[in-house]
């Protein structure tokens, strides 16, 4: 009894998350994917992903090349693993950027009210009116296709979604009596936003972040597929798919392996997000 009372909010959420099998599956798969990406160099050196060898082109999986080789005789396993490094970096990086700016805009808008709200949210509407992929495409074309610019472009295109969702959660918090009480205690705007409003919407933010990461990884891949992302021969999942397209009929495995990794990433993030949403919802407390 005494012990249970001392449980922190985090432990409580973790306890509930553990009960959800799909969420735990998602968490484990995601952790494995992140680990393989982090330690890709230790598992198989990056050199192998670039090393061409015409003698062994389009070979099926073997002990030496467990995913087989691509059209230039490069090791597909190395390319998928090192490609994952970039894909995940783009996904997480862009989400972090979009979350940060979306959060700032939502905070300003919900704290300062009507006039700023109208101005900034209409601006968000304008950005959101352009399809996200198209928007990112436009930004990348303008800035030039590099990894960094790809992250900036995708993050920019995603800001309105974050701003809107966080804003609507914050609006239900800003009028709460404990915010008024904080004002009465002498707290200023910054403190109220950071200490009182944000923690109360963190649940929404966490769930949105996991879901967005999955989407943004796919968008990054589609931009790379179109040739606007990471430039060849640097491996990246979308770029791998693009390369594999030519050999779809003869060597479909070239497409299958990066495809499986993408599906797994996206699936695990979504399962985790769903589980987190349930675990963070106080109404489902049991």
């Amino acid at each position: 009894m005494e012990k249970q009372k001392k449980q922190s909010q985090f432990k409580e959420v973790w306890r509930r998350l553990k009960k959800s099998k799909p969420a735990m599956f998602g968490l484990i798969v995601l952790s494995l994917l992140i680990l393989t990406a982090l330690f890709a160099e230790q598992i198989i050196p990056y050199k192998k992903a670039l090393e061409m060898n015409a003698a062994i082109r389009l070979k099926p999986p073997s002990l030496e090349h467990i995913f087989g080789t691509d059209a230039y005789g490069r090791d597909l396993f190395a390319r998928v693993l090192h490609g994952g490094r970039r894909s995940l970096l783009i996904g997480f990086g862009a989400t972090a950027g979009a979350l940060f700016f979306g959060w700032i805009i939502a905070s300003i808008v919900s704290y300062y009210g009507t006039r700023v709200d109208n101005l900034l949210m209409r601006l968000m509407d304008i950005i959101a009116a352009v399809p996200m992929t198209l928007m990112a495409l436009a930004v990348v074309s303008a800035l030039g296709p590099t990894l960094q610019n790809l992250i900036i472009a995708i993050a920019f295109a995603r800001i309105p979604t974050f701003a809107r969702i966080i804003r609507s959660s914050m609006l239900s918090v800003v009028d709460a009596e404990y915010i008024e009480a904080a004002h009465a205690g002498g707290a200023g705007a910054l403190r109220i936003i950071l200490k009182h409003i944000t923690p109360n919407v963190s649940g929404t933010m966490i769930v949105q972040t996991t879901m967005a990461t999955a989407q943004l990884i796919l968008i990054a891949a589609s931009l790379s597929f179109l040739g606007l992302g990471v430039q060849l021969p640097t491996p990246e999942w979308g770029a791998l798919l693009s390369e594999a397209r030519e050999f779809m009929r003869t060597t479909p495995l070239l497409m299958v392996f990066p495809g499986i990794f993408m599906v797994l990433t996206s699936l695990s993030l979504n399962l985790l997000g769903d589980g987190l949403r349930d675990a963070l919802d106080p109404k489902l407390k049991s």
């Binding site: 909010q9 009210g113 404990y178 008024e180 009480a181 009465a184």
Partner: protein, 327 residues
């Protein structure tokens, strides 16, 4: 030089929306001496909470409009202070206990952090973290909460305990003025008595001035030195506690309020409420605001707004007592 801690003069507050103007407070004046308690009693919608919020300058920015009047706190005109100066006053020198303890605590903050917040914000003499935490323990002890519960979250507390936490938050910096806005309304009767006696004891021990806002005449009788009866944004009657409770002459509204308290000595089947409703604050009646419900209503009451009639410390805003009608 300032014998009064707080002087409010002719305060008028409207809530302005696109559709209508709500006249929430219509020209109230009062003074509060150091160490005294001033009670404001009135029914729901009389403008009590609006008055309290105005004192801290916490009226909703978009709609709440302070039309006229002055608020002087310790000689300083509060309405001329910058936002920054107000922030350093709030919580430090004037604090507020909010109505509903269930909603006035941040659900995701530990209780100790919420109490420590005011201390940290007003940490002008550079206290260390340990000192602040020690003070937090002290305040918690003051309101009767065991220190081992300070790391709990609000949902782990009962209603009465939450109200204690809210009071601890207000008391953390030992304010000179404590505004208690219906501090016991959300609590049940036994807890009410505990919380009230605690507030009284703390006030006496810390030598605070207090504004007690309530709709319960019993609470007023137990805590206040001076009382004002508020109706439709006005003080219809004000004076010392004795003036209101034992005085000979009363505003008909005050009579009605006292009349609606059931008398334990006499057997009554029905309670004796004041007939009618509080007037719509967007369309206040001409003349006296109480005239539509007043049992002693005269012709003049429907046309001319009554002036304050002073009898020593006792003030009544009613034509029944003004010289005009008495000749």
């Amino acid at each position: 030089m300032n014998e009064y801690l707080l002087e409010v003069e002719d305060l008028k507050i409207d809530y302005q929306t696109d559709l209508e103007t709500v006249h929430a407070v219509n020209g109230i004046s009062f003074t509060l001496e150091k160490g005294q308690t001033f009670g404001i009693v009135g029914e729901t919608g009389a403008g009590k909470t609006t008055t309290a919020l105005a004192l801290l300058r916490l009226l909703p920015e978009r709609t709440g409009k302070l039309r006229q009047g002055t608020i002087r706190f310790d000689g300083k005109d509060l309405l001329k202070q910058s936002l920054h100066d107000m922030q350093s006053l709030r919580g430090k020198r004037m604090a507020m206990i909010f109505q509903d303890p269930m909603t006035s605590l941040n659900p995701v903050m530990r209780v100790e952090d919420q109490i420590a917040e005011a201390l940290m914000l007003h940490n002008t003499d550079g206290k260390g973290k340990a000192e602040i935490m020690a003070r937090t323990d002290e305040v918690l002890e003051l309101v009767g909460i065991l220190p081992e519960r300070k790391r709990d979250y609000p949902h782990q507390f009962s209603g009465g305990m939450k109200q204690r936490v809210v009071i601890a938050m207000a008391l953390a910096c030992e304010p000179e003025l404590l505004i208690a806005d219906e501090p016991t309304t959300a609590l049940d009767v036994t807890i009410q008595a505990q919380v009230l006696s605690m507030i009284r004891e703390l006030r006496d021990r810390l030598g605070m001035s207090m504004i007690m806002i309530t709709h319960d005449l019993g609470i007023i009788a137990q805590t206040c030195d001076k009382v004002a009866v508020m109706y439709a944004g006005e003080f219809v009657e004000s004076g010392t506690l004795e003036d209101i409770f034992t005085g000979e002459e009363h505003h008909p509204y005050t009579q009605g309020l006292f009349g609606s308290i059931p008398n334990l000595a006499v057997k009554t089947d029905r309670l004796n409420p004041i007939g009618g409703m509080v007037p719509d604050p967007t369309k206040l009646p001409e003349g006296c605001y109480f005239s539509p419900r007043c049992p002693h209503c005269m012709d003049i009451c429907r046309q001319v707004h009554p002036q304050d009639v002073k009898r020593g410390t006792h003030t009544i805003k009613c034509h029944l007592f003004s010289e005009v009608t008495h000749g």
